[in-house]
């Protein structure tokens, strides 16, 4: 493990602090925290819009039943306690009694039931609440989720930005599927979280203000949170450095991360992305041409030098990633890598029936979804040249063009970045499930199919015993690393940047996709 003992002690201490809600060192209240969003927000309502850009304002405007500490342990939030029945089929949430929406109306179990319904109908991650058949509301502060099968992934799905509780009396005025385009998603928002909306100016900023009747006494500490929209990474970097912006998340350019690390007043940290879990990989189309042979896929892995990617391309900012699960997840088990070995690669290619003819064994194409990973793609081309594989780099004009190629299986290899989104059921299964070979990006675009993998995922999805579940995912990761529908290389190096004035910066598993009610400014 790369974590230092000191780090573990510190995070345990901090989580103890978070759990009890008392900050040992004391804190100041008030002030305006100026933060930044790296792209424009489409929709502030995180019950119907997923994604990291909505996650940050969404988690401030809307509360979820639970929150998670740094050790992946659920903590009470809007639910003061909960109970999972022995058969795993009913989950009872006991809500905080004094909770209010921003318009003063009480938050009741009706709103929980309504929010689940809205999320099920509109949110892209269907696997989160698919097993939830109905929600009973025996009284105003008790919500009972009835499941068709045990669903351990539900716990993470009830935290962070994934289960935003929205008011039925505001958003329930039309069809349930129309909440996606509800006029109050972006203005006059009535939320349940620590901050309420003051102003959202498209392309400019989101301004939030402390909600005085928030259900946790004394919180939030800040008076105001400004989220400025600055899309240019170089401009953001300068703004961190000159103090114009206190804090920002999701910085991923190695050059900029390393430059900001040298600034004395700034802290630059990769902590806080475990649940979002972004990982980079080399995708290989298992349904087409030479890559349908696992030996060819392995030969490619042996020819691509991960060290080069980590040192030269990521400049030391990324972590190693060897299976479909993010290395910060409790389910992650590191797999033996494919240390670069050109001889082995050549032998595998010979065995697979691709001898060198006129200096070349085969021709393949490689795609990439966004310009940031073009160096990786160019590197793969150069690396495979050494084992006599000709690679043609295919650029795409924009995201939809690339997505179309991926969704229709019109590719040999591609560089791709996919997020875990909490539990493996939500963000990991989709890539390897043989029933999820669909049109559309970030499904099982590699057309990978293995009956044992399907079986392991199906068992893990309903296994309530954490140790047994871990064992299932261990075997799953071993098979994936061996059969290589994708070759896992590194995490996407998301970093959070904040200056000396910012205390308690969000570094839990959900990063800024969690309420920043304990953040304060030392001014």
């Amino acid at each position: 493990m790369k974590y230092s003992i000191k780090g573990i002690v510190a995070s345990v201490a901090l989580s103890a602090v978070m759990a009890t809600g008392v900050i040992a060192e004391g804190h100041k209240t008030g002030g305006t925290l100026v933060t930044v969003l790296g792209s424009n927000v489409r929709n502030l309502n995180s019950a119907v819009q997923s994604g990291i850009v909505t996650g940050y304002p969404g988690a401030q405007l809307f509360a979820s039943p639970m929150r998670y500490d740094e050790n992946w342990e659920p903590q009470p939030y809007l639910a003061e306690s909960w109970n999972v029945s022995d058969d795993g089929l009913t989950v009872t949430l006991n809500l905080v009694k004094n909770a209010k929406f921003h318009d003063g109306a009480p938050i009741t179990s009706e709103d929980i039931a309504f929010s689940v319904e809205v999320i099920k109908a509109n949110h892209p991650f269907k696997s989160m609440f698919a097993p939830v058949e109905s929600v009973d509301t025996p009284d105003a502060h008790t919500a009972v989720l009835n499941l068709s099968k045990p669903h351990p992934a539900l716990m993470l799905a009830m935290s962070g930005q994934l289960m935003s509780i929205i008011p039925k009396h505001i958003y329930g005025d039309g069809e349930i599927t129309d909440v996606k385009t509800h006029p109050r998603n972006n203005e006059n928002v009535v939320g349940s979280g620590p901050f309420k909306l003051v102003e959202f100016k498209n392309g400019e900023h989101v301004i939030l203000e402390r909600f005085d009747d928030f259900f946790i006494e004394g919180r939030p500490y800040l008076d105001r949170v400004v989220m400025r929209i600055i899309t240019d990474p170089a401009a953001r970097a300068i703004a961190y450095e000159n103090g114009e912006i206190h804090m920002g998340a999701f910085e991923s350019l190695p050059r900029i991360i390393n430059r900001l690390k040298k600034v004395d007043t700034l802290t630059v940290t990769p902590d806080g992305y475990g649940a979002i879990g972004p990982i980079d990989w080399l995708a290989m189309n298992t349904a087409k041409g030479p890559l349908s042979d696992v030996r060819v896929r392995k030969a490619i892995a042996y020819a691509v030098d991960k060290n080069f990617i980590h040192k030269a391309l990521m400049q030391g900012t990324a972590s190693d990633s060897t299976s479909g699960i993010h290395p910060d997840s409790p389910f992650y088990v590191a797999q033996d890598g494919y240390d670069v070995d050109l001889e082995k690669s050549a032998v595998l290619l010979d065995e697979a029936g691709f001898p060198v003819k006129d200096g070349s064994r085969m021709s393949l194409t490689i795609d990439f979804g966004w310009p940031g990973v073009k160096p990786q793609v160019e590197y793969v081309k150069a690396a495979l040249k050494k084992v006599n594989i000709d690679v043609e780099v295919r650029a795409s004009a924009d995201f939809p063009t690339w997505a179309k190629k991926m969704g229709t299986g019109d590719f040999d290899m591609s560089w791709d970045t996919v997020f875990n989104w909490g539990d493996p059921v939500i963000g990991v299964h989709r890539t390897y499930d043989s029933t999820n070979i669909l049109k559309g990006v970030w499904s099982n675009t590699q057309s990978y199919s293995n009956a044992r993998v399907d079986e392991l995922m199906a068992m893990a999805a309903v296994e309530t015993d954490i140790e047994k579940r871990k064992a299932l995912y261990t075997e799953f990761q071993e098979i994936i690393a061996d059969e290589l529908p994708v070759y896992h290389t590194n995490t996407l190096p998301y970093h959070t940047v904040f200056n000396d004035k910012v205390k308690n910066a969000p570094m839990g598993i959900w990063g800024t996709s969690t309420p920043i009610d304990t953040v304060w400014l030392d001014e």
């Binding site: 994604g51 400025r228 240019d232 000159n242 114009e244 669909l438």
Partner: protein, 325 residues
């Protein structure tokens, strides 16, 4: 009457051109693989087929091409630019929110470049081989050759990071409190670097042209006459020659107006200026067809109005211009 007639004919052409632009752009957008449903799913971290289909059905993207096109043109004829799929907002509203910021930036940069460009041109024309003249030539070439985003980042590093005179991004500091003047100064501070960046590109053109025409004018007969009459050099230069040299510069400024708007796309991207350029850039990336078409429509409108205003300005400085414009 003649003037009105020629304006009317021009307006007629402009409308035909606008419709052609709309049809062409709509068709091109349609030809490209993938659509806004993909980018919506991207912004959400992935979506399944069911949701993609639902999004396409919601926005009528599953309809045949000619029906979509018909709907759109029909809407525009009723002054309805449609609904932005990506931003969940009517396009007209979206554009009107952004238009003032772009106009403020573009017009200020244009006027500044014109004003300084003409002064630089005149000064250097009076001593064509002086140091100042060479300096103007150098500055002009440099400003024209340097990519706008590079100039922008360089200015940011110099004036926002090294000496912290100007803010990095955006149009206003939302934490500032105070009355009109506090906000005025705040916006002016935010504007300084983007305006200089955008202006530097056009300063080059104007100063070069002003220099050339001024030199030509200074050598013409009426200037000699004026000098022979015994007028002072300053009087000759600023009262007689300048007025006669201005019209080519103003014509160029009018023609460049469209270029200023396209230059604004890059400048706005660098400085996160909340204008149409940023919106255009983002909606192209998001494949948000109604917004892209709406912006093209508005840009065309702005350019046409800009050209008409140029005509007007030319008439003012040079009475010989008129009749069939």
């Amino acid at each position: 009457m003649q003037v009105l007639q020629s304006f009317a004919i021009r307006a007629g052409y402009a409308v035909i051109l606008l419709v052609a632009v709309l049809v062409l752009n709509f068709s091109m957008m349609h030809l490209a693989p993938g659509d806004v449903a993909d980018t919506i799913s991207q912004s959400m971290g992935g979506a399944d087929q069911e949701l993609l289909d639902q999004i396409r059905a919601d926005y009528g993207l599953d309809q045949p091409f000619y029906i979509q096109l018909g709907h759109y043109i029909g809407g525009v004829l009723q002054f309805d630019l449609g609904f932005s799929f990506f931003y969940n907002q009517p396009v007209t509203e979206l554009i009107l929110q952004r238009l003032p910021a772009t106009l403020l930036l573009v017009i200020t940069a244009q006027l500044l470049a014109l004003f300084i460009g003409v002064i630089m041109g005149v000064i250097s024309a009076r001593k064509p081989n002086g140091i100042l003249s060479h300096f103007v030539t150098f500055l002009a070439l440099f400003g024209y050759a340097a990519p706008v985003f590079w100039t922008g980042i360089l200015l940011l590093i110099a004036f926002s990071l090294k000496v912290q005179w100007f803010p990095v991004a955006g149009m206003q500091d939302v934490t500032i409190e105070g009355g009109f003047w506090a906000h005025f100064i705040d916006v002016a501070r935010h504007m300084a670097l983007p305006v200089v960046t955008l202006g530097s590109l056009f300063l080059a053109l104007y100063s070069r042209l002003a220099r050339a025409t001024m030199m030509e004018t200074l050598g013409s007969d009426f200037v000699r006459t004026a000098k022979a009459k015994g007028l002072s050099t300053n009087q000759v230069v600023y009262k007689h020659a300048l007025k006669n040299s201005l019209s080519p510069v103003i014509t160029l400024a009018g023609l460049q107006f469209s270029a200023v708007i396209s230059g604004a796309v890059l400048v706005e991207a660098v400085f996160s200026w909340p204008g149409l350029g940023t919106l255009a850039f983002q909606s192209i990336i998001a494949r948000d067809t109604p917004t892209i078409l709406g912006i093209l429509f508005f840009s065309a409108l702005v350019v046409i109005v800009g050209n008409l205003l140029t005509d007007l300005a030319l008439r003012l400085v040079d009475p010989r211009v008129g009749g069939k414009g």
